[in-house]
Amino acid sequence: MVIEDTLFVLWLMVAGPLWAAVGMFVLPQVNHGKEEADQLPLTTLRVAGVIGGFALGPLGVGLFYFEPHLIRRTTLTVGVIVTVFASSQVLARVIDPNLPSAMWLLLAGPLWAALAAYFIPRHYRQLEADDRNVLTAAALGGFAIGPLIFGLMWKTTPRVNRDWMIVLGSLGAWQIYTIFAIQNATNPCVAAPYHVTYLTQQTANGIVIGSIYSLMAVGLTLIYSVQGIVSFAHGQLYMVGGYFSFYFLLHGANIWKDLTGQEIVINPLWGIPVAAVIVFLIGAAFERVFLKPMHEGLIERVSEYAILITFGFGFFVEYTTLAIAGPFPQRTDRFIEIRRFTLQRTQITDDFAFGPIHLIGDRAFAMVVGIVLIFALLYFLQRTWTGRALRATSQDRQAAAVTGINPTNMNTLSFGMGSMLAAMSGAALIPIFAWVPWVGAEMVGRSYVIVVLGGLGSVPGALVGGIIVGIVEALGAGCHPDPSRGAAYKEAFALVIFALVLLLKPTGLFGREQH
């Protein structure tokens, strides 16, 4: 058994690349003269040869030879993904988890990633080719398809666009999944037949909480994009937003009763605009008093000042809240009375069933609130004069001023709005979590990760980054081979992504390069 499996792996390791090499060099030659093939760029033919040869050996090369119209980017993308997935599934089912071959896979990915990340960008620069995203693509590709990435990127030096990144990223994910399946066959994330349901459940968990993460991070990124500073009070403004909602709900009904004589129950949804207005005013006032001098040139060491003043503001807000609200945890009523939404189990085939999937009612509601607010913000930024003025200020303050925009007002507006978004996410989460004056500490750390991941200053980046962080945390905690460590290191998984992004794409997923 051991020998057979080892031979099988060797076959995969040797024959696949061999036929890929044959395909890469032979396919363009034998296609020469064919009308359809001549319309295809040489690079595409080579890529087709590599993928066809690696996936199906001589069959793949033959298929593209006789049916060159099949050579399309979509076909090739699907081919790569299906090939790697199929190979990984075969490997996962055949190989004993303890075999050295599994370890080889484990080590080979990072090794090839490192080699590719080192050599391929240098090669691009030597050729004076467009080297944007090449480092990331090389590392991902090296991890996903090993030495083949050199074939794909070395000879032809293609321009690496978003499609490339998606394909290579998907391949990398499949590679990780494969290694995982080999090493940890009983893990709920890979163990059939419930793994699809489980992965869907965890992904849904991640998207739900990630949407709220995004809302908070959007505020942080808005402040950064306009003012160029990171607000270290963001976590405390998130916290205080929750408390404003709490006290509004607590006292609002009583005040209403005193005024009208009618008893009412106020839904926590109404706490969100209340918290938003109050914290907007607090944030705007803080900006006017403490940050405005910074932009007027009255402060000598601007960066240090911005850090210290926002940090101090955060401390002030936290300890003032502690003095007023006390340390005992609070929570508001629910948004909705439905405890959880459950997608019931459905038998798809005799061997495969999907579900049940559970979503906690209040969280799902908070997710909807978060997404609506983010899209409202995007609408504001894209379609209104003030929003465009904010964006213009973030791009070039002097140019914006020339066109009649008052950058000082934009600074105030951005800090007020950023603070308001933090407060709104706090008000959206106080029905979900036990609320204490230091509740923002964990959340704000995550927000920094999200804005760097999405790209500092990018609102769509913060949205996508939040959801990615949510999913990564959920899958990390849910899929880690050791459930105990998975639970303990939940927050650390996002930091791994953070480190990788800093390493491979320092501008973040949607970030602008500073020139």
């Binding site: 459940q201 945890p329 959880r340 964990e442 303990a488």
Partner: protein, 444 residues
């Protein structure tokens, strides 16, 4: 005219203000105090990442005890009354910070004794500071066995922490082993076959879980352990993993503070426990019923371990203390509030019997010989310098350890129920409703 009136009013106000201290003296006129004020250091977590809610309760207990003692003519030594003051030091729940604060209290504030400490990690770290400076200390909340075990002999195969032993440290809270044994005995008697332990990754959580796991496994129960970090808010991914597997017979939460509340609530929201299949056993902080129901609205039928005297056995001191606490915070006094209050009184009692507030050796001897009933019950110490030989089989942690803290398992059975009305379900001797478990949806 107006100016004259204003001036007269101001003079009158100042005169009244000046007379206030005289009025205070008049109020305490039955006591005459010496110039010197006895100072105790009180260690408590007053800011994050420590358990601030616990710290605030302990800080209140320090001040309430000092106020009550001073109202009772303070500490009386050789016929001289000394006022007592407890200076609170914020440990932040951090061992390093706790050490620094303990040193400051001892060296700068020159305290005569120490009381308090909430977190085991802080207790273990600060013991050395108190011991090195010869400060009599009564811990009122850390549970880690080693707090009292390491002082005298090898414990659990490990060498003693201090070569010369620990002479000055006493504890009136239970040890993790004491608490764990009650919960595990209860689960074993209920006949559960598999238990999921969800444990905080701290010096309290890990040893406590290890102890409970060993006891459960010795009782034939299969145990799975999940570690979590304190401060985590979202447990849904972790709980979804639990939900994907076979439901355990019981889920035991060895987690403190608001993290415990978040975990319990999310567990109930997902329908994992309490259910017909799975018993929910949460942490002692569930006894704070106002906080519990505010943050775990779906937590009905969860059981929890209760440390400290049960409400039906409250003596007059406990009832009075509880009334004061309720007036201050609107909730039932927690066990660590009672223990902290008692610790200050025990220190006063020991100083009076020692005849000194500064002779550490005499005070330690007096604490060892304690024989006093306070809010939590009758305090005494079976083993210490006066009786150093522990019989075979007696755990090493019994050194300077109050042997009789009451540990029970309680359970809510009505939505929004006060902890004072919750059922005591184990051990049988304390049962209030004649049952050792109330199944969800039923009444005892």
């Amino acid at each position: 005219m107006k100016r004259n009136s204003l001036f007269i009013s101001l003079v009158l106000a100042l005169a009244l203000f000046a007379l206030l201290p005289l009025a205070a003296v008049q109020a305490d006129g039955h006591c005459e105090f010496a110039d010197y004020t006895i100072r105790l250091g009180g260690l408590a977590p007053m800011s994050a990442p420590g358990a601030v809610a616990g710290g605030v309760a302990m800080d209140w207990a320090f001040k309430q005890a000092a106020a009550d003692i001073n109202a009772d003519c303070g500490v009386s030594i050789d016929g001289v009354n000394y006022m007592i003051e407890v200076i609170t030091g914020d440990s932040e729940g951090s061992p390093e910070r706790g050490q620094a604060v303990a040193e400051r209290l001892i060296l700068e504030d020159e305290v005569d004794g120490m009381v308090g400490v909430y977190h085991s990690a802080v207790g273990l770290a600060t013991m050395a500071v108190m011991e090195a400076n010869g400060i009599p200390t009564i811990f009122s909340e850390p549970w880690n066995d080693n707090v009292s075990a390491n002082g005298i002999m090898e414990f659990d195969g490990r060498a003693p922490r201090f070569e010369d032993g620990i002479d000055h440290i006493f504890r009136i809270s239970p040890t993790s082993s004491m608490v764990g044994s009650v919960v595990t005995d209860w689960l074993i008697e209920l006949g559960v076959e598999d238990v999921l332990l969800i444990v905080e990754n701290t010096d309290y959580g890990q040893p406590a879980a290890d102890d409970e796991q060993a006891r459960l496994e010795a009782g034939g129960v299969s145990v799975t352990q999940l570690d979590i970090e304190l401060g985590t808010e979202d447990f849904v991914p972790i709980l979804s993993r639990v939900q994907a597997g076979e439901p355990p017979d019981a889920i035991r939460i060895v987690v403190t503070g608001e993290t415990s509340f978040n975990l319990t609530q999310q567990m109930t929201e997902l329908g994992i426990a309490p259910t017909e299949d799975t018993i929910c056993v949460t942490n002692q902080i569930a006894f704070q019923s106002e906080q519990y129901w505010a943050t775990v609205p779906d937590g009905n039928y969860c059981a929890f371990n209760r440390v400290g005297i049960i409400p039906s056995l409250f003596n007059d001191t406990a009832i009075e203390l509880n009334e004061k606490y309720e007036a201050a915070f609107g909730d039932i006094v927690p066990s660590f509030g009672m223990a902290t209050y008692d610790a200050v009184w025990m220190m006063k009692d020991a100083m009076e019997r020692a005849g000194s507030y500064s002779d550490a050796a005499a005070i330690v001897d007096a604490i060892e010989a304690s024989d006093i009933t306070l809010s939590q019950g009758h305090y005494y110490f079976s083993y210490g310098g006066h009786n150093p030989d522990l019989p075979e089989g007696t755990p090493a942690y019994m050194w300077h350890q109050w042997p009789d803290p009451i540990v029970t398992v309680m359970q809510y059975f009505e939505q929004g129920q006060s902890a004072l009305d919750a059922a005591v379900i184990y051990p049988p001797v304390y049962q209030t409703h004649g049952t050792s478990y109330i199944a969800p949806g039923t009444s005892p």
